[in-house]
Symmetry: C2
Subunit: 344 residues, 2 copies
Amino acid sequence: MANILDVAKRAGVAPTTAKRAIHEPHRLAPETLARVRKAIEELGYEPDQVAGSLRRGRTQTLGLMVGNIIEPFFAALIRSIARQARARGYALMVADSEYDSGIELQHLKMFRGQRVSGLIIRSAFGSPNLDYLVQMHKRGTYILEIDHFYPNSPFSYVMLDGRQCVFTGVKYLYDLGHRRIATLGDYHPVITPDERSRVFPEAMQAVGLAPIPEYQRVIERSEEAAYHLTLELMRLPEPPTALFSLTGSEAAGAFRALKELGLRIPQDVSLLTFDNYSWTALVTPPLDVIEQPVEAMGQVAVEIVLEAIENQTLDKVVRKRFPGRLIRRGSCAPPPAQGVKSRV
Amino acid sequence: MANILDVAKRAGVAPTTAKRAIHEPHRLAPETLARVRKAIEELGYEPDQVAGSLRRGRTQTLGLMVGNIIEPFFAALIRSIARQARARGYALMVADSEYDSGIELQHLKMFRGQRVSGLIIRSAFGSPNLDYLVQMHKRGTYILEIDHFYPNSPFSYVMLDGRQCVFTGVKYLYDLGHRRIATLGDYHPVITPDERSRVFPEAMQAVGLAPIPEYQRVIERSEEAAYHLTLELMRLPEPPTALFSLTGSEAAGAFRALKELGLRIPQDVSLLTFDNYSWTALVTPPLDVIEQPVEAMGQVAVEIVLEAIENQTLDKVVRKRFPGRLIRRGSCAPPPAQGVKSRV
DNA sequence: AGAGCTGATGGTCACGTGTCCATTTTTAGC
DNA sequence: GCTAAAAATGGACACGTGACCATCAGCTCT
């Protein structure tokens, strides 16, 4: 592979001059510049970022750790972040923790070995990797959490305003007349320490309700778990009249379970979910969703990270919240007069 | 950031000895090894892959270019490839061309600058980037095409056996009694040069049918384009009795269009599609699909690439085909006795 | 005309590692 | 107890670049 020395030789100039043709072309005499450019062209020279990174002491590389790449939310996030990184000349290393902190740690070590300059991370659940992240930060990697953050996180983050969204959702269901509202999955400090389930009780309180203890089950945030939970909830003596799914994946499981039970949406039970996934508009009835501004979140995340990296302000902490948007399509309606009959 | 010299100094050994603790620990005396390991631990040392790559002349990095990361097929592919890369100690750079060859070229240049050792690529449509790929290959990047390959591609590839799948699908519909079968999108050598639409006429011929000219429209392989095409097709004087969607994204558009037209699936029209996306099982009726063995394809792709890289056999060409699997769920049935009424 | 300045170009070195070769220490064999 | 071999350890250097400093010609200003 041709290097800058080959280019210099071919152009009949010193290596330093050849380098300047790339970094500071204005400092070269026009003919010299043309000669070097010709040599670059002829040799198909492309600067070696590996050597450059070593010398510079900083890579042009960002790491991105997602929780589950199969979820469209993360796919959209990757696209947004990739676009922005490309625009700024950074390469993107993507890792999928599958929400497993063991896998996550392996990827973090790889990122560290690769000396990524910045890391955008959606942490795995129940993760003991905070220490490792702190260490990475001390060694010069700027870290930004996205979609979720550790309690007392020392890092920057970019997040949906989960509180506002949950309040909006609960209020929406309350105003339709619902009193027996269940989230799919309760808060748990280790297993599911997410903001949405944490603030749900507060949102209920705000409209004068209390969460119903029988509905409060801790489940993994997956389609399968939501499917089983929905079956259980709807088989209770007094089942909920409205289900509030906290993730798009869970909504699929809940939807499947309701269909299977022969319950009609929204006549028998209302269904509201986070994440405007494309399938939610295709099913019958199309689902009411709370949409996240994914594109904007990804873009801002990269901007924060690159600004810190390029200005050498690694200790700067920036935290942004983004509002969600309720989209009504018809999967929520007033509850049936005599409540939902239990499906035993 | 601590380097191997710091480790050596702390352990009281020469740098070479410290390095051996990492690469060939068996060559060290047990106490020396322990001392170096302790130093590594205490300093939180992690070898610098950037420096290692430079010296070695080869990175531990793979590039992966997908056509559209939003499509669940690619998300699943990334997961599979990421798993295998992780298991083999390689970092993964992911790029999303959005099926745009201009964006693709930018990413390719970045990959080249980063000196990725291998590249797994799903090329963009109508791409003039083949020359650049050939150049990358000459400079030492092993290249493998996935899901699609250039005509006369000089590279290895891993692909679905599209011919077998299309033949299976057509035969399935034919056996149900369908004669007026339409694919969503016809073959076009530049815009949509995909195998599936190309072999469709052959598959029809195999059951004694000919493609119906009015159904043969060239469209972009997107949900939106498929939506409009479906509307057009079903408004023809003699609309198809069965739609064969060649991608999962298109199926969503077709499904939406059929619902909107008030056509019942499968009573009025049958719908068969590639890709077992999770939503296809959620809609009413659940869709018949042809599933791709994505996990296996990703795994084999990485194995081929890494074997070539590690054995320095960059010119070895390996080509693998994988069979699809037809899953019946109820969206295909015999056509109505008097054909589908046109929806004008 | 000489000093000072600017524009253009050249030379040297270090980033942290892996590889190769050299040296010292220990063990085996008789 | 001595030699040869093996085990264990050490030293020097290059990968391709970017940062820094050096050089030199031509020009302006006094």
